[in-house]
Every structure is written in structure tokens, then in C-alpha cells.
Symmetry: C2
Subunit: 226 residues, 2 copies
């Protein structure tokens, strides 16, 4: 028995250096600071991050497997561009995984987790708050599904389409119907119906795919791929 008042625990750096680099670059990409197509040479990254080339290279490899950067022939890597082909593939996979996650959530989440999830779809003031609530909704869903593999596959997908998500909601009426879809999903989950939850999730992803595809096609029309 240890003294409950005694807390001498040392919190050691939970992340390795390359992991920190991955996180920082990922966030920078998500925030739009590193736009799609941006070239990243190892030299530049070493200077930007202050870590050695070894660590930079390891981080780049990881970001590559996440699909956030892509090799640029003999120019290092560049921030991945999302073309309509990639968006199609991503949404096809998401359309397979996310309904499954919703179903597993219904089967396994505690009542508290269900309540927390439902709370996220209550009406919010600003658009930013709603987007934030949606991200938290997704996080709760993935946690309650009790499948770390599923989580590790879906999260990178969400990251990749992050930019597109904020873009899709600019399509008139998309944000409203999206919130409606989330509401229906939450209702199905609250009712503890795996089938209805799966169906609702499926409908939502399909609608989101349509909006995202339209958004990216608009982008491609304005800005033909180089």
C-alpha cells in the first residue's frame, strides 16, 4: 500500500521526437499552414523543427503511410493533394467503416457514453462550435466502439478530409442537413438500435461524400491540377 497523498510520479516525455514532428506537421497541414502541393525538403524540415535528419525522415515516412504527404519524385515529399479520385476512395472506405463503428458503439457503449454522444448534437450557436462538436462526436463514437484498430484506421481518414469538411459545409444547406443526419444518428444510438445506427451513419457518409466530391470538383475546375 502506498501513501495516497504521496505523488512523486515522474511524467516522462510520452512522445518520441519523431512522433512530435508527426503531430506538429499534421496539425500544420490540418490548419492549412502547409497547403496541398507544398514541397517539403528534408533540409527545410530540419531547420524548421530543429531535430536531426534521421528523425525528420522517420516522421516523413509515417506521414506518408497516413496519406498526408506524398513522395514527389526526387524533390522529397509534398503535402498530399486531394483529387476527386482520392476523395472517392476515402469516402468508400469511410462508408464501410463508420457505420460499423456506429453499430459497435450501440452494442458496447455505456449509458454515460451514449448520453455524452447525444449531448454533442444539441443545437450550438456558431458554425465553428458545431464543427467542433462534430469532431468530438466522432471521437466519442470511436472510443465507445472499443476497437483500437478501427480507430487507428478511421482517424487518419478524418484528418485527410479535414480541409474538405470545412469546405463542404460552405455548400448552401449542407451544414443544416449534416446536423440533421447527426441528429438522426444520435437518435438511433439513443434507441440502442444497431441497424438504425448503421443505416443513419451510412446515409450521413453518403451525403458527406456527395458534398465533398462536389467541393473538390469545384476546386479542380477553378484550379486545374498541375
Amino acid at each position: 500500500m502506498t501513501d495516497p497523498k504521496l505523488d512523486l510520479m515522474i511524467d516522462r516525455p510520452a512522445e518520441s521526437v519523431p512522433e512530435m514532428v508527426v503531430r506538429r506537421i499534421r496539425d500544420a497541414i490540418a490548419a492549412g499552414l502547409l497547403p496541398p502541393g507544398r514541397q517539403l525538403t528534408e533540409r527545410e524540415l530540419v531547420e524548421l523543427t530543429g531535430v536531426s535528419r534521421t528523425s525528420v525522415r522517420e516522421a516523413m515516412r509515417h506521414l506518408q503511410t497516413l496519406g498526408l504527404v506524398e513522395p514527389s519524385p526526387s524533390r522529397g515529399v509534398r503535402v498530399a493533394r486531394l483529387g476527386s479520385a482520392e476523395v472517392r476512395e476515402i469516402y468508400e472506405v469511410r462508408d464501410a467503416l463508420e457505420p460499423a463503428a456506429a453499430e459497435l458503439f450501440v452494442l458496447r457503449a455505456t449509458d454515460e457514453e451514449v448520453a455524452a454522444l447525444v449531448a454533442k448534437v444539441q443545437p450550438h450557436a456558431s458554425g465553428d462550435e458545431r464543427l467542433q462538436a462534430i469532431y468530438e462526436f466522432d471521437g466519442l463514437l470511436l472510443a465507445g466502439a472499443r476497437n483500437s484498430l478501427l480507430k487507428s484506421m478511421l482517424e487518419p481518414l478524418h484528418t485527410r478530409i479535414h480541409a474538405l469538411r470545412s469546405l463542404s459545409v460552405t455548400i448552401p444547406g449542407r451544414l443544416e442537413s449534416s446536423m440533421q443526419e447527426y441528429l438522426e444518428l444520435a437518435e438511433a444510438i439513443a434507441a440502442r438500435s444497431p441497424e438504425r445506427a448503421s443505416e443513419a451513419s451510412h446515409r450521413h457518409v453518403r451525403a458527406a461524400a456527395k458534398a465533398a466530391l462536389k467541393a473538390v470538383e469545384n476546386l479542380e475546375r477553378e484550379n486545374p491540377e498541375s
Copy 2:
């Protein structure tokens, strides 16, 4: 115009050194030469492969993201053990992705690809031939689904459960029912019915999951986790 008789093309190594290491280690694990739980120190790998520690480390990181090896605290990495929890997670994901792949195959594959797929489920002589045919079936399915992301997510899963697959078919009657399931899937695909194909694939994965889970639980009973 170059002289058509003149062929001086140099076929350069298509794979980088770390990629070769990944492939070799992966195959060794799949073949059972590196059994689950086997410790792998960097030093040993450097000696076994003849490449530098840098490349070995990069390969290990990649194998880690594939789930084939897992970090072993301050002992480097070890070949991943498949516990019932991991098997459950893997099959839940597979159950989400593979029916989707079957559906996409129906929608997109050429008639030739369908014919090639159907040919794989014709009766075969030995059990080994049947297993081989099944792997080729999966490869064709993934190719015809026209989704490289889906492919890159399902293939590592197949690799991870490879050992279990060969183990599951030792369960009496499993091989026969498995072949029956593949036959039904092939029929649904030949009929170009996305729904039936998805359903058939779903049934197959569920049955395989059950068999795999039973197999791994037998293993765990005989050989309690250390």
C-alpha cells in the same frame, strides 16, 4: 524514335533497402520462421539482413504500423502475438471492409476479371492448392474493386491473420464450408448483384471470424499468454 531492337533498359531496384527488409521479415513471419513473441533486436536484424541499423529501424517502424511487430519495452520489438482481442478487432474491421470490396468489385470489374475470379473457386485437388486459390481470389477481388486505399488497408489485415487462416481450416468441416461460402460469393458476383455479393462476403467473414476466434482460443488455452 529509338531503335526497337535496341534494349538497354536498366531495371533499377524497384524497392528501397528498407522496403526489401520489410518484405523479407513479413514473409518470414507469415511463413512461421519468426514465431509470435520472437524478440528481434536491432543488432540481430543488422546481422541477419546485412543492412545498416538506420534501414533496419525504418523497416521496424513500418512493420509496427502494419501490426506485424510490436514494441517490447526496452527489448526492441517482437513479432506480434494475436490474442483473442486482436482477432476480434481485426475481424470486425475485415467484416466492414471486405463486403464493401465485394460490392465495388461487382460494380467495377470487367467481365474478364469476373471470369478470372470465378475460375478460382473451381474444385481443386489438394488443400494447399485450395488455400493458394483463395489468396489469389482475394488478390483479384481487391484489384477489381479499384480502390487502392481499401486495398492498402485490407492486405495487412490478411497478412496478420495468415497464420490463423491456415490454423482455422484444421477445424473439422471449416475448409468445406469456407469453400462453399466462396462459391456463393462467386455466384453472387457472377450474377452482378452488389447486394448479394456483399451479403455473401459478410456471411463468409462472420464464419471465418468464428472459426479463427475458436482457433485462437484453443491456442490460448493450451498455451497461456506469458
